[in-house]
Amino acid sequence: MKIGLEIHFQLKGVKLFCSCSTEGEKSNYLFKRKMTPTMSEMGHIDRAARYENIRNRDFNYYTSTNSCLVDADEEPPHMPDDSNINTAIIVSMALHCKIVDYVSFMRKIVIDGSNTSGFQRTGIVGLNGYVETSQGRVRISTVTLEEDASRKISESGKNAFYSLDRLGIPLIEISTEPDIKDENHAIETARKIGFIVMSTGKFRGEVDSIRQDVNFSMGYGRVEIKGVSKLSLIKDTIKYEIQRQKSLADISGIIKARGGTEITDFMDITHILKDTDSKIIKAGLNKNKKVFCAKINNARGLLKNGNYRLGRELADVAKNMGIGGMMHSDELPGYGLTDNDVNNINNFMGIENNDAIIMVITDPEIITAFKSELDERLKNLMSMNLAETRAATEDGETRFLRPLSGGERMYPETDIGLIEIPLKRLNSLEGLVPESMEDALNNLKNNYGFSQTEAMGIINNNLYGDFKDYIKVLNEPKIISRIILQKLPEYEKKYNKKLSGDELMEIFTMANENKWGRDSVEKALELYVSGKYPLKILANAEELKPLDAGRLREIIIELMRTQEITEKNLIYLLKNKTKSSFDARDAIKIFENIKNNS
């Protein structure tokens, strides 16, 4: 088993090839484009490209508050901002890559409409590195800097709708060699790589800001699984794929033993079903669609039967071509079709023994193209040539997307010259290269006294970089840790307000200057998040003025007059009594002093 990962991280700030912000919202201005599969550099029309073209689609784009003529493919790309290239260099260095002398952006043909240009611009920044893991080094093939695609809003018929808000956001793509041993190792590797990117402080950190592709092979060809959205899903996805390929091997064996299989031409069987009660078929006929049926010999019982799910593999082809759904004999009767309907169909199709059938409801024009795609896919499956591009689903499964894209999908981006990375620049960036996760863990444990769990908490929440910034202004690791892990999220939720890193930094600076204790820092934070005081006057807030010893003594005496006070309930009761802060140790001293003297 060979597993490789390609992990994409969005960077925040400015888009890669224009001056738009990475943050923005969809607008209502809409335009429409076609995509034409052009020749790639070797003179081929790329196979994946041609496949998409069959669908002859209309791509509709909504502009956004962070899009411009570059995103609309109405203006050549601008030179990328230094900051984005620097981040890619820093990550490359942390992954022990060789840095290129010149970044040379390429155009990678993508004609599913997700890029208005019809290609994604991408350039290698680092290559041939590695990341240390518990199971040895996992080699890094490349670290590339590329532009993110448009965000798909919806799809209906031949129309796809995208928003330009995400298009052009810088992505760092890190590709490993297939050195990963198993699913748990994959997760560890992903986490270690992620730590490095996040430590740069440039990671965008929104929903969807990380996306993983998994390359997987167990001997039947390389499967590229696109878009595993969460780290935790990597495991499920790999497990699912192992199981799927094993089962296909079984199916292939059975069919071979039965004498092989082929799909007949599709027959129009609309007339047979013109009086059916099946709602799904009636709906199709009302839209002037026809029902087509083809026979697959020797496939009966393998289309859907326990782990055998050949039907689903074929249905994916239908789905990709916009054909609503596919029915097959292992599901029939079903879909509202009666035994009688099924018998009529079987008779018409001349079904015998192990013959299976598949049925689709669709426009007649598309049926020839569909049959040709279906043939190709069945042939590949039966010969256990499983190399293909698959999509990860949200529940840890995968589904067929398209044949594997060839390497020849790329040619140079001529609108942008080579970007030189001189040694001087590398040297100036070296100080910014992040530690590895191990080093960070050790740093937190050894230098700041955190437990393994606490340290992992900071790391897993992508707070290590922030922590290191904060500790510079307030040398109170525990206070900072409690605030960034617990209190800040709590207050932000309570008051429905997000704090920026700069704001928090100012509060910590204030805490240091005013020598606030833990309670005062947290109180100050809440006062600020709640909107009661602006930063300018926060330090002078009434609530933060520590009670002097005399006033504290008065309050404690008053408390003692009305109820039983012990060292244990003293602080709790005091806090209820006064809004001002006080030093708990002072209070206890005073309390004992009073008690002893009374």
Partner: protein
């Protein structure tokens, strides 16, 4: 090493395989097996092994044979639409074979498209010699009763279109110039739909020279602009070409051509006056312009097109210069506003300009005026002023309506 040769090489201590692209003396570029190019300083690259050249251009485009009844000739002259990127080096090269049209362009099954390579030139370098050559080639095609589409760079497409417009006194069909703002090697290229529209427009009953480009940013409608009234109004957008002061003569959407009433109709013969006189220049006035600069250019020209401010004005010192030169040089006034008409009757400056001998050209576009003067000087020198002020090919509108 030759481009396309497979090699093994070392870069900063690691070994790789790839295909050699080029070495410019300082930087070596090699395509890695994953498709990326790596560009490195020569001193960092060590070639380990060269293989036999295994690169053979495989051109497995399906050759769809279409022999529609309508013959159309595409004259390629260069420009973005007539070029493609060399996928390895990134260099732009002319397209020698446009058979890809049959693969990528829709709605042309009724046509039989043929190609003639006329030139391969960036449109900023096109001059009157090329205009004359294009005109002759176009005439030859029209004389065969075939349609003619000229692939042209967009930068000076309006000049070429104007030149053809004036040189043809009569046309048996449209001469269509088309181009693209996104090169045709891109999936998003506007070329395909512009070509589709252009080929379909050859069937229309228009007897004018037109520029056919996107109507807006979407791949939907394509406009047929009258050549003498079109202008490139944006550096990069698909809909850069605009009809100034008039509606496009026709539009094309999804196989349908819709012609505006104002388009001139095909005539029964092609009459070509293929002479041009280069002694015409355009001078763009700006406040503070020195008289000497104006004189330096104007003194040795037969005609000068002035792009004045507003209704067609220049500063007093330039008026004096004109007064001195107008015995030997024709001065024509257009406006750098581009939209609207000049009028030298409204302000005193205008009246002084008239007295100095300047001839106002209404709403004629400056580039059109230049080409028109070049044409008339060569063909109708005795009737120059009268013809310059007359509407010959729709270059001069007497009505400008409010709605656009």
């Amino acid at each position: 090493m030759k481009t396309g040769e497979k090699i093994d090489f070392e870069y900063k201590g690691d070994s790789y395989s790839g295909i050699f692209i080029k070495n410019d003396g300082k930087i070596t570029t090699i395509k890695l097996s994953n498709g990326y190019n790596i560009s490195a300083l020569n001193e960092n690259i060590k070639i380990l092994r060269e293989y036999e050249n295994n690169y053979v251009a495989q051109d497995n485009i399906r050759e769809i044979k279409i022999n529609g009844k309508n013959e159309v000739y595409i004259l390629t002259t260069g420009g973005t639409i007539g070029s493609s990127v060399d996928y390895r080096t990134g260099a732009v090269k002319p397209v020698r074979d446009i058979s890809y049209i049959y693969n990528f362009v829709n709605n042309i099954s009724e046509f039989n498209v043929k190609q003639i390579n006329v030139a391969n030139i960036l449109s900023e370098n096109v001059n009157s010699k090329y205009w004359i050559e294009y005109a002759r080639r176009a005439r030859d095609v029209l004389n065969k009763n075939a349609g003619v589409v000229i692939f042209h760079g967009t930068d000076t497409m309006q000049h070429t279109a104007s030149a053809l417009s004036f040189m043809f006194e009569k046309l048996t069909g449209p001469i269509i110039l088309t181009g693209s703002q996104r090169s045709s090697d891109r999936p998003s290229s506007d070329a395909f739909i512009n070509i589709e529209a252009s080929i379909n427009f050859t069937k229309s009953d228009i007897g004018e020279v037109g520029i056919v480009m996107h109507s807006d940013t979407s791949d939907g409608t394509v406009s047929f602009h009258r050549g003498v009234r079109a202008r490139k109004m944006h550096t990069s957008r698909r809909d850069a070409f605009q009809s100034i002061g008039i509606r496009p003569l026709a539009t094309y959407t999804d196989g349908r051509v819709s012609v505006n009433n104002n388009a001139m109709k095909r005539q029964d013969e092609n009459i070509l006056n293929d002479k041009m006189d280069d002694s015409v220049s355009i001078i763009y006035f700006y406040p503070g312009m020195p008289e000497e600069d104006f004189i330096n250019i104007a003194a040795n020209k037969k005609a000068v097109i002035i792009m004045g401010t507003g209704l067609g004005h220049v500063s007093d010192n330039i008026i004096n210069a004109i007064k001195r030169l107008s015995k030997d040089t024709y001065f024509f006034m257009t406006s750098q506003c581009l939209y609207g008409s000049v009028n030298l009757n409204v302000y005193s400056t205008g009246r002084y300009l008239l007295d100095a001998g300047v001839i106002p050209l209404g709403d004629m576009l400056p580039e059109t005026a230049m080409v028109k003067a070049m044409f008339l000087l060569a063909n109708y020198p005795d009737n120059l002023v009268k013809l310059m002020k007359s509407n010959l090919r729709g270059e001069l509108n007497s009505r400008r309506i409010l709605e656009w």
